[in-house]
């Protein structure tokens, strides 16, 4: 693939963190322990919406082994949050959902802490609650009566139960609809989905003699967690140190503060180290799942199936706090526009509060929801017009230089190549090989999130290099990818790169392991650091070799100038004695591309950086009597720009598809009257190895201008298309279009019965 041009980048090399993880030596945050450590547990509301009349902790405090109890009354009154500062550590005067934190206990064992939690008496007075996001739009009930007093990002437009509302408006929609050959209108719904990381959210906190709190946790964003903790604890950020020993998966569910604040507050209260770890039940009732959504989509086409205009509304159910909802809902608008040319667009997103768990930024937030609606409808239109769904897509996809929804320019476009490759691989010419069997296709585009990265790189006297980054290795191999870039640029082997753990006190800032950006952005920072190190080494070598810098190059761990050379190790030793060592600070930032602000209103992510393009195709069978889906084959063609490590890209594709299959067919947090009915891993149905077929990955490389060697973001896209591709294949197999996720066997059977009563 890229093995011809590069020695290290582009090669299938083993991960730097691989051996530790497969041998069980790697220390995850959940493994972390300190001497004298207490265990913290959280009392969570059993009411969906109620006034707190009284909290009596006296019985709990009297239990032997209980070292500290805190409620809202014991801590600084701070509201925090990313888009809207609406969140508190504990419920104050009201609980807003079942699972809302009311109090926390630290005790000498987790059993004692749990008993103490049960001994706390809370008197509630129930309030009318809102569970339906559409009802919340019109109801007089206010989940946040004081919403106007909350601070929020200036871009966010709020009102009553609406936590954020964004728009994209392009062209003359009304005229386009008036001229249309046909207009199609559909409604789709998607469910609340847990990110499904293996390691629950966990944090251990300890305060030192200088009043600095250190938190060992498994956050994806150590610097964001540091900032939020500083706000909650009412401290300067410098007195909060966040470090991530290891993280057992995150998928966007560990972006925002989870249990770190409870650990830090309990540790401050008890003057002992305190560890807090979520239970499975807490994960399913009080973590940060993917929002449920309702998508209404109206599309106008001409006779040939060209998209003339689209209007649509995405309603994202944020739950009790805005969380990532406003941004997620807004991103849906770009996803709904899709990698398609459409003359006119009028899209609106609404993020709305309900009395349910607050939600987060699960991998490709809004991607699968909006794509499910958009790509299902494309197939519905194609069927109605008598067009092949692939052909319908090919007639509409964007080409190099076409404008995107925000008025930006699509560059390094590969959507047609992805569609054709996925279709060829699945055998598109034969869409219904037998009764009850069908093939489906879906495509999308997705951003590579910007944000800055800084790295320190130090050359050691043995010629190896140490990479200090503020980005955590979330499990994707992303940091190995960045290390491959660094090794390539320094003429080192990958095994010469030592990667340190993340510690906010020592590491340079990084925007974090999110948004498909880690290898991309940290890799760019490594390019910059390597450039600076080459400058330092060449200057030093010039003196040693008495040769001009202009002719120097790095080759095989040496600086070479004509027939003279000196090893990098030797230069590092010389520099240690005479110059303080070879060390560089590399930074990277990807500026947003130019766009037309008139098109995009109240949108926190108005334009996408370095988008990638991809297509999924699936071949599946549906049991005609039970509705059960069996996936026979699954193919992904994804444009990654440049494959820095094809093995880890395939890993990302396979994992993302597995999560997408879960969202498509089996996963949902089920609420009934405000209560989660399946708050355990028996009844929350993540797919098992038996449910996921072998995923066939086709890596497409259409190089970007911004990424290292032309790379684009990789991590999020694979979970975007599965619901739509699977839904379209189910429709091909059964003639029925499921319009609600998950598409369970029961729903499919009901749809088939409705069609053939």
């Amino acid at each position: 693939m890229n093995a011809q041009t590069h020695r290290v980048a582009g090669h299938r090399l083993p991960r730097r963190d691989g051996v530790g993880k497969v041998t069980g030596k790697h220390v995850y945050a959940a493994d972390f322990k300190l001497p004298g450590m207490l265990y913290g547990k959280i009392l969570r509301s059993a009411r969906a919406h109620a006034l707190i009349k009284n909290i009596d902790v006296s019985r709990a405090a009297a239990i032997a082994g209980v070292r500290g109890i805190i409620t809202a009354a014991d801590i600084p009154q701070v509201r925090y949050g990313t888009a809207v500062r609406d969140t508190t550590v504990f419920a104050t005067d009201r609980v807003l959902f079942m699972g809302h934190a009311v109090a926390a206990v630290a005790a000498t064992s987790s059993e004692i802490a749990e008993r103490a939690i049960e001994a706390i008496k809370v008197e509630y007075q129930d309030l009318p609650a809102l569970y339906d996001p559409e009802e919340a739009l019109t109801s007089d009930i206010r989940i946040h009566p004081d919403w106007e007093t909350y601070k929020a990002l200036p871009i966010i437009s709020r009102k009553d139960n609406i936590a954020g509302q964004a728009r994209i408006h392009v062209g003359d929609v009304e005229t386009a609809f008036a001229k249309a050959h046909k207009i199609y209108e559909h409604r789709f719904t998607t469910s609340l989905q847990h990110p499904g990381y293996t390691e629950p959210r966990v944090a251990t906190a300890d305060w030192d003699a200088n009043g600095i709190v250190t938190v060992w946790c498994n956050t994806q964003l150590p610097f964001d967690t540091q900032t939020t903790l500083a706000e909650i604890l009412d401290l300067p950020a410098a007195r909060v140190r966040v470090t991530v020993p290891g993280i057992g998966g995150g998928f966007g569910g560990k972006l925002r503060i989870g249990v770190e604040h409870f650990a830090a507050l309990l540790a401050r209260k008890t003057a002992r180290p305190v560890k807090v770890m979520s239970t499975s039940e807490e994960e399913l009732t009080a973590a940060l799942p993917r929002q449920a959504s309702i998508v209404l989509l109206k599309t106008a086409v001409d006779k040939e199936g060209h998209l003339l205009a689209r209007s649509g509304r995405v309603i994202v159910d944020c739950g009790a706090y805005a969380g990532s909802g406003p941004g997620t809902a807004a991103i849906a608008l770009q996803v709904m526009a899709g990698p398609y040319k459409t003359g006119a667009l009028a899209f609106e997103s609404i993020a709305v509060y309900t009395n349910k768990v607050h939600s987060g930024s699960f991998r490709a937030p809004a991607g699968p929801m909006a794509n499910f609606a958009m790509e299902s409808q494309i197939d519905m239109i194609a069927k109605d017009l008598g067009l092949d769904p692939l052909e319908m897509r090919l007639r509409n996809v964007v080409k190099e230089g076409d404008p995107g929804p925000s008025g930006e320019t699509h560059t390094s476009v590969s959507i047609e190549e992805c569609l054709r490759k996925a279709a060829d691989a699945i055998g598109w010419h034969d869409r219904n090989p037998e009764p009850g069997r069908g093939k489906g296709i879906a495509c999308s585009w997705w951003m590579t999130t910007g944000g800055s990265s800084g790295v320190y790189v130090k050359i050691n006297p043995d010629g190896s290099a140490t990479l200090v980054s503020g980005a955590v290795e979330i499990g994707t191999g992303a940091i190995t990818g960045a290390a491959q870039v660094l090794a390539e640029e320094l003429s080192l082997d990958l095994t010469d790169i030592n990667v340190t753990g993340v510690d906010t006190q020592a590491a340079p800032f990084d925007y974090g392991a999110q948004g498909s950006r880690t290898t991309f952005s940290v890799g760019n920072a490594c390019l910059a650091a390597a450039k600076e190190l080459r400058r330092q080494m060449f200057e030093l070598a010039a003196k040693q070799l008495e040769a001009p810098i202009e002719n120097m190059k790095l080759q095989d761990k040496h600086v070479v100038a004509g027939n003279k050379s000196i090893s990098i190790a030797e230069l590092a030793r010389i520099s240690r004695l005479a110059g303080g060592g070879l060390i560089a600070h590399g930074t990277a930032i990807s500026p947003a591309p130019p766009y037309d602000p008139a098109r995009v209103k109240n949108h926190p992510l108005p334009v996408w950086n370095t988008p990638s393009y991809h297509a999924h195709a699936v071949d599946l069978s549906v049991d005609q009597a039970t509705g059960k889906v069996t996936i026979n084959r699954y193919v992904v063609a994804q444009d990654v720009g440049y494959a820095i490590n094809p093995t880890y890209i395939e890993g990302q594709i396979e994992g993302g598809v597995a999560q997408g299959i879960g969202q498509a067919l089996s996963e949902e947090i089920v609420y009934q009257d405000g209560r989660v009915m399946n708050a355990n891993l028996t009844d929350y149905k993540m797919p098992t190895a038996m449910d996921v077929p072998e995923i066939e990955s086709i890596i497409v490389e259409c190089r970007s201008a911004a990424g290292p060697y032309g790379a684009k973001g990789v991590g999020e896209p694979p979970c975007i298309e599965p619901p739509a591709a699977i839904g379209n294949a189910i429709a091909a197999a059964t003639g029925c279009w499921p319009n609600s996720l998950p598409m369970t066997a029961e729903k499919i059977a009901a749809a088939m019965r409705a069609r053939h009563p």
């Binding site: 089996s666 028996t682 149905k685 029961e746």
Partner: protein
């Protein structure tokens, strides 16, 4: 979770311990149900009596006319036992879909029966084989048909301190076959939405049904035998139409609930389809034996 763990060396010692610590004692074998129930605060035993290592209780014994399964037999042992590969396939089919590999290596069939979940996967095939349960207790040994042993959801006929020792069933006559089917949202680590076992025997030289036993799980408060469906088929030809009618009768006899896993209506529809398919599978297996 905290309890005292006892490790008796014999069944007698186990029964003594259970009597001594009653009513706060509980037997534990594989623990795959018990530990979850403790974690979810459904039970809170002070004493756990670990019977997993009791000698001689995990054997599969074959005699001329019957099989005896020790109560501590692990699913893995059933899955791989050569004697169940022909006309007792239902046992292997059920054993191979309980939990996942880790569960099947440790969970015991006795535990599955005593747990008395309406959705227990291993109960329907044993009901279809008309199995009996041997018990030992303070008043000695006794035995009961499995059908009567399970009384309701989570309830059995076990008396205080009694322990299941064996499960027995007779070998099947010639021209017999069994089949087990399970439906759920995923293919492993799954609680059955419905599970069905069938045991069919054809007359010596015709295609008429000489014996039919059907058993259905997760579609009523306890796994049950749809007697009308069974008797409908007796003496009838083993045809697709008759199997479909048996399925319809079985669905009629079921009394499923709606819960987070499925609606009652879907469960009932599954019963009809799965009974028909299980019978068809049995028929196909008998034809394979005939050849």
């Amino acid at each position: 979770m905290s309890f005292d763990l006892h490790r008796p060396a014999s069944v007698t010692e186990a029964i003594d311990l259970a009597q001594r610590f009653a009513p706060t004692a509980r037997y534990v074998a594989g623990g795959t149900d018990t530990v979850i129930q403790i974690n979810r605060k459904k039970i809170d035993p002070v004493h756990l009596i670990d019977v997993a290592c009791l000698p001689g209780m995990s054997e599969i014994t074959e005699t001329a006319d019957a099989f005896t399964l020790g109560a501590l037999t692990r699913y893995r042992a059933i899955e791989t036992h050569p004697a169940f590969r022909v006309n007792l396939r239902a046992l292997q089919e059920a054993a191979s879909v309980v939990g996942g590999h880790q569960v099947r290596n440790i969970a015991t069939i006795g535990g599955n029966i005593v747990n008395a979940s309406p959705a227990a996967d291993f109960v329907p095939p044993l009901l279809a084989l008309d199995a009996s349960v041997d018990m030992a207790g303070p008043n000695g040994q006794r035995s009961s048909p499995l059908l009567n042993f399970i009384v309701g959801p989570g309830k059995t006929a076990l008396l205080p301190a009694e322990i299941v020792t064996n499960i027995r069933f007779a070998k099947l006559p010639a021209r017999s076959a069994t089949a087990f089917l399970k439906e759920g949202r995923r293919r492993a680590m799954e609680i059955s939405v419905v599970c069905v076992a069938a045991c069919l025997t054809l007359e010596a030289s015709t295609s008429r049904c000489a014996s039919v036993r059907l058993a259905i799980g997760a579609a009523s408060p306890k796994a049950f035998r749809p007697e009308q469906a069974e008797s409908y088929l007796l003496g009838q030809s083993a045809s697709k139409e008759n199997f479909a009618e048996a399925g319809r009768l079985a669905a009629e006899a079921s009394s499923p609930i709606s819960d987070v896993r499925a609606s009652a209506g879907y469960r009932r529809a599954l019963v009809a389809v799965m009974v028909e398919r299980a019978l068809e599978t049995c028929l196909q297996r008998i034809r394979e034996q005939d050849q």
